[in-house]
Assembly symmetry: C2
Homo-oligomer: 272 residues x 2
């Protein structure tokens, strides 16, 4: 292999880092792949870091020491987050989303991979300093957002089921009262899904009373794991007093006017 030019090395490094967020690459991996000296790769990284910053592409972080290397962290500016959330609100206001019974159809939005990825990276920006080692979701609707958040942190996704599965081995269940329906429900996780002491970030599509989030706390206590954050896509402003208080939401849904075809959504107080 002839000596590569900087442009070529930049393509390989920017592509490799971006394709696997949060993964640490030892400099040796690039030295070998690109046939370059350590000093060259180090200079390249300084150069690349500046471009990521200047164009708001996220962060490139170099870690010193034996386990050191370089990684890409998805990170949005406040303005990028506001633009994304305002775009999501605009889409949610489409009267075609109003369903019989006064429900709002949102499944398509949060199942569109690029949107789910951007929402996940927004949560990763908000919770960057919490260093979760697991992202937790509740079946079924919250899974895409939670998976994309887990991807941004390069940690496993764990999904709470309503019923245990014999195919997943011994499990732990807790009962919880859904804040909105006042019904007692169960949440179940395989015993092996969460190690003791894990730092858990819970991501869900919707919060009303906070009963589910409260249940997550109870369930994590059984695993001796710590809930380090709760991120929800949409929140209902009522009831004002929720069963948890340390969550963040992106969008507030105040209801709809079925006759006039109006959907009342706006960016939450964390976005403004």
């Amino acid at each position: 292999m002839g000596r590569l030019r900087r442009g070529e090395r930049m393509v390989v490094m920017a592509q490799t880092l971006t394709a696997q967020p949060y993964k640490v690459w030892p400099l040796g991996a690039f030295m070998e792949k690109l046939g370059a000296a350590k000093s060259t790769i180090s200079e390249d990284l300084t150069f690349m870091k500046a471009v990521f910053e200047r164009f708001h592409l996220g962060r490139v972080e170099t870690l010193a020491g034996a386990a050191g290397g370089v990684r890409f962290l998805p990170h949005y500016t406040r303005e990028q987050i506001r633009d994304l959330v305002e775009d999501l609100c605009r889409r949610l206001r489409d009267p075609g989303r109003i369903l019989p019974g006064g429900f709002l159809y949102t499944t398509d939005l949060i199942s569109t991979p690029q949107l789910a990825a951007q929402i996940g990276e927004t949560f990763a920006t908000f919770f960057a300093d919490r260093r979760p080692d697991i992202v937790l979701s509740m079946e079924v609707k919250g899974i895409p957002l939670a998976l994309m958040t887990a991807r941004a942190f390069d940690v496993p996704l764990v999904t709470i089921r309503r019923e245990g599965r014999v195919t997943e081995g011994p499990s732990v269940s807790v009962n919880y009262v859904s804040g909105s329906s006042r019904m007692v429900q169960a949440m179940t996780l395989p015993l092996r899904a969460i190690p003791e002491g894990a730092r858990v970030l819970f991501i869900d599509d919707f919060i009303r009373g906070g009963g589910t989030a409260r249940g997550v706390y109870d369930l994590m206590r059984e695993f001796r794991a710590e809930v380090v954050g709760i991120g929800v896509f949409v929140e209902s402003p009522t009831p004002r007093e929720k069963l948890v208080d340390n969550y963040i939401s992106l969008i507030v849904y105040e209801g709809m006017d079925e006759v006039q075809g109006r959907v009342l959504v706006s960016p939450s107080r964390w976005i403004a």
Copy 2:
């Protein structure tokens, strides 16, 4: 903004394309962002394309015409696919995965975002010529793999539920006989989830008899949509005659020896 060097332009373009697979970027987007002439951007893309090819990073494709531009397609070589599948097989052979009752624990693997993404991009490589406009999954376990496949094609994920949800509006249900359990079950989708004439790729974590996949055909017929491919992560070699024949799988699971702690898995015939 002073004139940028090629290395800087390469970082922005490689990062932007990689972060959103399959999305078409008009050249004008880069001209504006980088303050560069069209001829410069065109030369840059030729340069970048060659680097992606040389280092097997996937494909960069330029599309001519009014709706033209450039996009990144995840694409693995046969060797990259073989390495991934062999690594997955090695992990699946861990005796710690053997659960009471002779079940194999796989949830953690397919819920690890980077692995799910690589499996999704493998399916995207196999089904590249099918040009799906929807990726379909069956709740719950198959969702991460299906979402990452949908991400690689930049198309929506649609998830079949076992029961309809009042919160998702009018729905279509079909009954199907699970090939393995011989039980009649239902699969349900909101009426609005799939437009007529859609090209649908079904992704699931496991196939035994093929009853679920058969049900997907029946359900898609109701939507007048076309199943253009079926990709499963693991298949059981028995029964040999499945209810569908046009699927591909990555791994064959032949069973386990609980006493000796041996798990029999190997790459499927599509990998070798």
